[in-house]
């Protein structure tokens, strides 16, 4: 009952990897932003970030597990939202457990690695951003931008559908101007926003860089793989 995730993982031989992080990018404003704190989103399906994440995770885990290809309803995993009433989230349990049971094929693997969007507060107001995006943060003296890729990884038991381990990708370093509980970096240091939409190649490269740098570390922290 009190076994650690690392102990439970010792019996896992076969895993499937599910990713539902990168369907859209959000542009959020924060700080001293006039009377408008609204955000906008645009689709980035063409970037194929989830395919990239599955490829990278597969490469990182293959040394320890047999990684089996799985098919799944990506949209079902992507639209899961927490309740605004925190106790409801505790009572209803982890919604991804049921999705692994009903939306993933094949069943019967020892475990499923589920990678989904994570949330982080921006600034002192408690407003949150999630998934992939960038923030435009204003102060009296200056304004700056920061790109982020916030995701979390669950390891779900393929037989009992219990969550063995769960962790959000941690910050890569402290170079960001806005504190975020996940991988992020300023975009004024060599990365341009350009058109700021799904056709922006520099934006795509910056997001890919965040994912590629953070994924091995997060998998390692979950006791799933060694740092590559």
């Amino acid at each position: 009952m009190f076994a650690t995730g690392e102990t439970k993982l010792q019996t896992v031989k076969t895993v499937g990897i599910i990713s539902a992080v990168g369907g859209q990018m959000t542009v959020a404003t924060g700080g001293l932003s006039g009377l408008d704190n609204s955000s906008r989103s645009f689709p980035i399906d063409s970037w194929e970030l989830d395919d990239l994440i599955v490829q990278r995770a597969t490469a990182a885990l293959s040394g320890r597990f047999q990684v089996k290809p799985v098919s799944y309803n990506r949209a079902a995993f992507a639209i899961v939202k927490d309740s605004v009433v925190a106790p409801v989230n505790l009572v209803r349990g982890d919604p991804f457990k049921a999705l692994v049971k009903t939306e993933v094929s094949p069943q019967g693997l020892d475990a499923y690695i589920v990678i989904t969007k994570a949330k982080s507060s921006i600034g002192g107001a408690g407003r949150k951003v999630e998934g992939v995006g960038y923030i435009i943060y204003g102060t009296v003296m200056e304004s700056y931008r920061q790109i982020y890729a916030l995701y979390e990884i669950r390891v779900i038991d393929g037989k009992t559908f219990d969550v063995i381990e769960k962790m959000a990708a941690p910050p890569l370093d402290n170079t960001g101007h806005v504190k975020l509980a996940g991988p992020s970096q300023p975009v004024d240091g060599g990365v341009s926003i350009g058109a700021g939409d799904g056709t922006d190649e520099s934006l795509r490269k910056a997001v890919v860089d965040l994912i590629v740098r953070s994924l091995p570390t997060t998998l390692n922290d979950l006791h799933l793989a060694a740092v590559l």
């Binding site: 076994a3 408690g126 102060t139 370093d173 402290n174």
Partner: protein
């Protein structure tokens, strides 16, 4: 839940939710490894605990520990015209990278169980220390007032990131059994990347049961003190304003300071304890410095 529970307070710090568990893990700390290659700021790594409760999230991951010291110069007791400087320790623990939610010096410890992002609500609590008549000459002849614990709810709303409206309404237990309701508004202005200024008005309403223990004077106390008999009723209790500044020097060091002024109103202001021996003007000044560093539990 995006609020954490503050363990030891400072005005603008974040709060701690899993401190006991992590402290326990830290106490178990067997090895301290070299800095982790993936996090330039991670100072050391602690081993994960050898067990995991199924109903609690894993403590594994990156954490930020903040330690520091400050001081507060505040009235000896509510209504006093003298003030005293006292040290305030600073300690907080939270997940690395978590943004520090704005926190006013007068806010109680709180947890947002309802969280719409810009609108949050949940339980709150505050401790009001005891008032010993023997501690200050102005109180000689008056009875002691025990320490009070106040529990209730809070609601706060950020229409934009730089403006907060907040109310806390709490029921007292122990030293008083009344109701206290604090209203505040704060303009939060980031000047530069590390320098933030905030300020705004304050107002407090208290019921008779919350006011009377501190400001009423019964016949025996009147005889002992020479003050007039006074029956303090509830109502508008105080109005004022507060301001705070914080400056993050680098990724580790931060300094902050604040000032809170309130003018007593209603029967609190009319009490002979205040009119004869005290003051309606109540000012609190605080300052502090803290150091933060990251560590990993794995």
């Amino acid at each position: 839940m995006n609020h954490n529970i503050k363990v030891l307070c400072r005005p603008c710090t974040v709060c701690v939710r899993r401190t006991p568990l992590v402290a326990f893990v830290a106490a178990l700390g067997v090895t301290v490894s070299l800095p982790d290659v993936a996090s330039a700021q991670t100072v050391f790594t602690l081993p994960a605990p050898p067990f995991q409760a199924p109903f609690l999230p894993s403590v594994s991951g990156d954490w930020t520990l903040t330690i520091g010291a400050g001081g507060e110069y505040k009235p000896d007791f509510e209504g006093s015209k003298h003030a005293l400087f006292s040290p305030v320790p600073i300690f907080s623990l939270h997940r690395a990278g978590a943004a520090e939610q704005f926190h006013g010096p007068r806010d109680g410890a709180s947890i947002a169980v309802i969280d719409f992002g810009n609108l949050q609500a949940g339980p709150t609590g505050k401790f009001v220390s005891s008032r010993k008549a023997s501690s200050y000459s102005e109180l000689n002849g008056l009875g002691d007032v025990n320490a009070a614990f106040e529990f209730g709810g809070f609601i706060q709303y950020f229409p934009v990131d730089w403006f907060r409206l907040r109310n806390e309404t709490r029921q007292g237990f122990g030293g008083h059994h009344g109701v206290v309701s604090d209203f505040s508004a704060d303009f939060i202005v980031p000047i530069t990347r590390g320098f933030t200024v905030s300020a705004g008005p304050r107002f407090t309403w208290e019921s008779s049961k919350a006011t009377s223990p501190y400001f009423s004077i019964d016949a025996a106390q009147a005889m002992a003190t020479g003050l007039s008999v006074f029956d303090a009723k509830g109502g508008s209790h105080s109005v004022g304003a507060g301001a705070q500044v914080s400056y993050r020097i680098d990724t580790h060091w931060e300094v902050h300071s604040y000032i809170e002024y309130e003018r007593l109103l209603g029967d609190a202001a009319k009490s002979p304890l205040v009119t004869v021996r005290g003051s309606v003007n109540q000012t609190t000044v605080g300052l502090g410095a803290s150091y933060s560093f990251d560590f990993k539990i794995r």
